[in-house]
Symmetry: C2
Subunit: 502 residues, 2 copies
Amino acid sequence: MEFTNLSQAIARLEELEATSAAYGHAMGILSVDASTIAPAKSAPGRGKTMEVLSSVVYGLVADPANLELVQYLEAHDSELTDLQRRQTQLLRKSVEQLSRIPQEEYVAYSVLMNEADVVWRNAKTGNDFASFAPILEQIVAYNRKFSGYYNPNVPAYDALLNEYEEGLTTAVLDEFFARLRSELVPLIHAIGEKAAPDTAFLNQSYPIPAQKELTSFLMDVMGLDKGKCVLCESEHPFTSGFNNADVRITTHYYETMPTFAIYSTIHEGGHALYEMGMDDAYNFTSVAGGASMSIHESQSRFYENLIGRSLPFVEKYFPKMQELFPEQLAGVTALQMFRAVNKVEPSLIRTEADELTYCMHIMVRYELEKQLIDGTLAVADLPRAWNGLYKEYLGVEVPNDTLGCLQDSHWAGGMIGYFPSYALGSAYGAQIKHVLEAELGSLEQLVQEGRIGEITGWLRAKIHRHSAMFKPMELFEQVCGKFDPKFYTDYLKEKYSRLYDL
Amino acid sequence: MEFTNLSQAIARLEELEATSAAYGHAMGILSVDASTIAPAKSAPGRGKTMEVLSSVVYGLVADPANLELVQYLEAHDSELTDLQRRQTQLLRKSVEQLSRIPQEEYVAYSVLMNEADVVWRNAKTGNDFASFAPILEQIVAYNRKFSGYYNPNVPAYDALLNEYEEGLTTAVLDEFFARLRSELVPLIHAIGEKAAPDTAFLNQSYPIPAQKELTSFLMDVMGLDKGKCVLCESEHPFTSGFNNADVRITTHYYETMPTFAIYSTIHEGGHALYEMGMDDAYNFTSVAGGASMSIHESQSRFYENLIGRSLPFVEKYFPKMQELFPEQLAGVTALQMFRAVNKVEPSLIRTEADELTYCMHIMVRYELEKQLIDGTLAVADLPRAWNGLYKEYLGVEVPNDTLGCLQDSHWAGGMIGYFPSYALGSAYGAQIKHVLEAELGSLEQLVQEGRIGEITGWLRAKIHRHSAMFKPMELFEQVCGKFDPKFYTDYLKEKYSRLYDL
């Protein structure tokens, strides 16, 4: 395609962006539907639809004419708006990446993802790793192959990491995790010597209709506009945003574990606030959806932990809990609840882990992903390796694969290289808190005074509104300066030393 | 496109069918989402996506190459399978119809439909016809214009009717409705002289969680496979099927009107059994989705009325109701429930109407649609005309537009010419019952003996499995011979004479 003038090229860019956004929306809704309300036997039919749409999207993005468009726009760089310039950068990135994946592999992979979700669910439910292993082998093989398409000049796992966090490397993560390990493991051991807080009152029946009332209340406390964000149920909680006025979050209700729905709702609600805080101008463009997975996790874990697991926040929702569960919480205080939701206990399930041991769960996955991708670990040996690392890092025995290597949906969803984002996001969050407090004052006090809207307003102005207008590290440095994990380890040491009277 | 051999042409046909099915699925899911769980402010974003996808579908179907494909396939008619032949017929029909609508009108209309749904909902909730009138004017204008594209050689309303029921004309309907009127109005009057059955026990609080248990139970009673069919909630109940293993039905729960959820679930469940009963071979083809709206309604209303409102069926679910609502139904018998759900009472709301006065509601809409389309009724005058006909046909005063001309979603959804299908479907159902009973014995006895699966099996073999392989009247005549509304009026006269001891 030849362009005779810039406005023609920009019109083409905008058309391409709008079309991609529409397919993204349609496939996103199909995927949300699959994980929430779709009947169990509907997967094959949805697979066919995904196959057709993926193939269209592939053709749309991998079209060689897009590279000409990018080159034309780049040649007119000084005449572009900031948004157009960023769209051009992102288009170059996706055209180059996608056009390196042969179309039939791209489509086959999309179909595999649809199938994998169902197989993984059944494997998890039935504690049947063997039934999932063949499909996981294919997923690993595809990711290894794709990594070469993304960037053949770096180790495969680095190329995958880069998909979720531009510029992130194994070298950086190795150092980051080593630091967490050296700082946090002694702390976890010291806490192990102390008396554990009482959590028995949480292990009773908390009827689900009342839990639903509570999560709805928490959405209000967080300032989530229910006209733009709805909460549904799924096996594994997630957030899916289509534009800044249409975000879906999910949770899962466990009758005898009310904290799961509470904290997953706050976590996903944090993702949703990020999506909804984006400037309108970025709707339906490739700039939508946030800067990166780590920045996204920095927001979700900010609300979940720095706000949601703080004493003043627990004090805010505790009266509502007592109203909804008067018998279960008779004689329990907000302080006891605060201690219970911050109980440090090396355990089996990442999503239920306390804030302190959480990173150990990530480290297990990080180590295993590296080995799966570099070929030093066979899929068949994954359960054994998983169980070994849980013993080594967390000191726990894994009784079965349902509670072990089948617990997360990520690998079934093809997301290899994503897990480190959670740890990195947590660390980013602590540093963001530091900067926020320098400007607005103590976070705990803001929460205590019911000023969560102000916190969100600040995060919106600094982070949310920009979405992917900046590269993640660039955005982070604009707000916080150079990344330093010390803020995170300091925060954890201070919080847990106080909690456990160390 | 030139075809060098038949298998190439068939491959192209199959590709086109699969692609159309994928877009239909994606847009269908977006639409189900919009009516069920989507947040209120998500409509504009969904509108953009619908605009893009509609435009793609338009280009796909209206492609002039499709006409060449059809001609090539028609020239090889004797070598086609029955399915390929029918696909070719349906492709000719849709290419001709769609390519007569200019693309920009087709796309603008799709966008209007998305917008109209929201405007109609708000207008209905707020009893604000004036806010809906401008959009309804556009919908009427579009339909009038489209009718000329569909078939410029017949009156506009006939062309629209034909969209929902091939070959149906105003002349046929005028005669059909005149007959219903002459046979049923005296019956309704005679019943008006009789004492009304007691329904007070239904106007109590029936908590919604227990109503949900009941609708789930009814799905089981009907033999609806929940692995293929899920029940959701929406303002107005509907069925949306994507393939024979993925059907969505919806209901609406009213705390003080449990029969609404009961009978709308059975009604939509009837549609779902039809969709799920289709032969696998027709999945993802244009043959999927049923023969016509009337045939679809003949099935939904068969389950709702001929089965669901029969004494043996009420006897089947009544013990479950008593278990769920012991206080509300203390001292009530199944016979009282049977009489209550068959109470004849001229009323305001079509979807809550009894089986006998139901057709009067359809006649109101039929008369008004004819006048809106031929221009003898202005949209602004619709409420007045609506209220006048309700007085004339049903003898009731319409207190406001929420309970009047804003009650149904059809016009907001662009479905003008659809309503007669409901009445026709009911009449078809009575004749189908007659044939079924000649082969399997009394329907009431089958229901009493819990043999609903056999009834569904018979309907499946005769009707469901064929989907749109035959034209609707052709299919009907294969099963029942020539259509005769007498079966319907006889059925109603017999049922209600017995019920009211006439």
